[in-house]
Symmetry: C2
Subunit: 458 residues, 2 copies
């Protein structure tokens, strides 16, 4: 038995706003990541204008060249939306209204207008499908998608609104692709390991991963970067390699120790949506701790990220963007002598800011940042990128004073990057403190339980 070749896909994303460079396409990258995980290689992502002739030619070409063709967009009610008619033309089939899609549309619109006569005729265009296509009812919006058999495989038509496309692909299209192509191309459900590596440049992390001796013939590897966060991904497409993914995971955990954050399993390709700040938010909620921030160089970025997620008022009390020195003194209570002696960008001032924020807001945990974000303001002693990050926390179980840890970092990149890295580091200190507190509380509860049950009762 020889190994089957991997199926090849073309993705066609339609919209003249894309080919005029006015909007960045989000659907192509989403679908490409999903197909890659399924073991389907993407040979082309083409962005096309809303022109029927261009679209018809591209669809005809794609279905002749690729095993899987995904088309997104052009299913709306306006004159710019051509996809259903063009697909019908390419396949030589008529267009008809889909009764169930039509019924849903009527139901939805009659909530807003008094009678059906008020509905503009072009509204019903969204219920049109190509005869003989398998119809994918829209799990989120109105326009249905379609699945059609081609000479080489399958063509899938999806709506252009990202939320609708993502839901329809994951819930309806992906299982059907596996069902129709799985046996022919020996596609199996893959095993995936995903992690974030925090606070390092991509080139550095990449070099260390390459030096680990991983057999990249057995696992597919991907890395993508945003400021301070690298998302790494290892996929084993064949069952015999599934266990190898766990070995790779151990290698990475050992290599990156405190800087790696293994993501929960079972995420979809929207993994990029699983922002670090969400993990911090969830860890804080689980811990029951309250937090505050005192921000100089990040000036609001930490507070913004801590409140990006619904429900953050249970943990976040408030923050001070303390840009001017006299704000650090007057609002956060940093002793003027500290600033005179050490400068505003110093370990001592950062610690005092964290203590001040903890006191001002009455929070359990407080973080502080002070640094040189650039591009100006650097000196040989305090260069652009130098940032102090502090965490103030309650006294340990043994009592005593609050604890303050201060880290000194030399971040790279432009102003935006330095600020993002500083905020990320502060958030990560909060996340770790919250996770430890939750673990201590659980251990304490377990010990209390053991004591209550007494020896020999376990």
């Amino acid at each position: 038995v020889t190994a089957a070749r991997a199926p090849r896909a073309w993705i066609l994303a339609t919209g003249s706003e894309l080919t005029r460079g006015e909007t960045r396409d989000a659907n192509g990258p989403f679908l490409a990541a999903e197909l890659t995980v399924l073991g389907i290689g993407v040979e082309r992502i083409a962005l096309l204008p809303d022109e029927p002739a261009v679209l018809a030619r591209a669809i005809a070409e794609a279905q002749a060249a690729a095993d899987v063709v995904l088309v997104s967009g052009g299913l709306g009610p306006t004159a710019d939306d051509h996809t259903v008619r063009v697909v019908a033309e390419v396949f030589g089939r008529p267009v008809r209204r889909h009764p169930e899609a039509e019924r849903r549309m009527r139901e939805r619109v009659l909530r807003r207008v008094a009678s059906e006569s008020e509905i503009p005729e072009n509204y019903w265009k969204q219920s049109e499908v190509v005869e003989g296509a398998e119809v994918l009812l829209n799990p989120v919006g109105l326009a249905p998608g379609m699945l059609l058999d081609t000479a080489r495989g399958v063509l899938v038509v999806l709506p252009g609104v990202p939320r609708e496309l993502e839901a329809m692909f994951s819930e309806l299209a992906a299982p059907r692709l596996l069902a129709r192509l799985g046996a022919r191309f020996a596609l199996e459900a893959p095993r995936i390991f995903r992690a974030k590596i925090l606070g390092h440049p991509e080139s550095w992390a990449e070099a260390r991963i390459q030096a680990l001796g991983i057999d990249f013939a057995r696992v597919e590897y991907g890395i993508s970067a945003r400021p301070g966060e690298l998302l790494v991904k290892f996929i084993a497409h064949r069952a015999p390699d599934h266990a190898y993914v766990d070995q790779v995971r151990s290698l990475l955990e050992r290599e990156f120790a405190a800087d790696i954050l293994v993501l929960p399993e079972g995420l979809g390709a929207r993994e990029n949506d699983l922002e670090h700040s969400r993990l911090v938010h969830e860890a804080l909620l689980a811990s029951g701790l309250t937090v505050a921030a005192a921000e100089s160089c990040t000036a609001g970025l930490i507070a913004k990220r801590l409140t990006d997620h619904a429900g953050s008022s249970a943990s976040f009390l408030g923050g001070v963007a303390a840009y001017a020195d006299r704000v650090k003194e007057a609002v956060l209570g940093v002793p003027p002598a500290l600033i005179r002696e050490h400068g505003a960008v110093s370990e001592a001032v950062c610690a005092a800011m964290a203590r001040g924020a903890r006191r001002l807001f009455g929070a359990d945990l407080a973080v502080a940042t002070t640094g040189v974000a650039g591009p100006g303001g650097g000196s040989p002693e305090k260069p652009v990128g130098l940032v102090y990050v502090a965490l103030a926390a309650p006294p340990g179980a043994g009592g005593g004073e609050e604890t303050v840890e201060v880290e000194r970092h030399r971040f790279w990149g432009d102003r935006r990057n330095v600020r993002a890295l500083a905020a990320l580091r502060a958030l990560e200190l909060l996340r770790r403190a919250a996770v430890s507190a939750t673990a201590r509380a659980a251990a304490g509860a377990a010990a209390a339980g053991r004591r209550a049950r007494g020896p020999g009762n376990g």
Copy 2:
């Protein structure tokens, strides 16, 4: 004389990180926007993997189909970089090292290594070009680009690093495209009008623009959205229509009055980089006024945006993210009775927050936000999206008390959108206050000048 048809372009962006969905392509949208402004229609943006066979086929196809083909990426030193060899193969020509590119590379690398023998052989790959191509020396980095004549027009090869690509396209490739294709396709230097419409949904603005009776045969129109900001663009490609662009501008200024922000002329296609927050930053610096923020629902977002740009410490003093009610009371001095009586999301509390921030930080101007960002926390009386935005400013020239204006907004969309819109509105209030102050100061100086010169001395 019949009008020449517009030239048609294909853009090919290479990189397996793109077709695996790991990275979003920035070069395609940049080039598409630039070509659109030049009057060249983009028929396809194709993202392709680093596979020589796929790339060769796509380049052959593109040069047969399009008048202009732009290829980006694959010019680096690694084994993944295939573009030069593939183009050479498609054109049936040899590859050779370009002496000037090689000289520059040697000069650059010898700053870091002691002798040429230490340079790995693959480094020199970046000096390779296709014989007979017009070479575009890299204005920013190392690898040169190329321009080749095709049967239908021109093929241009550009580096994949966005900074390098943008500089090479704008400085070297665009003028050559106009020179080679201008006469044949009657391309002229276009006239452009660009503006931002602030604080309205795209569908609303779009309907109003469509109702203005603009002759879209004479001006090309584009609109692109990000939360709260719509960038509209009108381009006249033919000289006789240049004056019509000014008429369109007057129409829009009248229609959108206080909500339109006309952008300075002469911007490149990187217009999306001209963020609203930068305009605010520049207006504040010009006014010499200092600012502070008190943020409840936006919690740090305003402070973050005010400090996104270098030099912001000249205007921004500080901010408070006042999430918890007791922070509004204890830090900003909002009277507890106000919160009890009106609730934290109220006009009275918002005004008190702005006053409190102005006092706490000793700033000239202070903005405040309080609202229901959602998804939870809404009620029939105070629904999700309800946001108050306040601006506290110094007394007018006549003296008296500080002035506080409070606006009540009902924003749309999800949590992220509501927060972005609230921050945008607060920033826009600051920008307008700063612009007015600058204008008043200029008028005052002029009047003082007239008085000093005395009557009849003008």
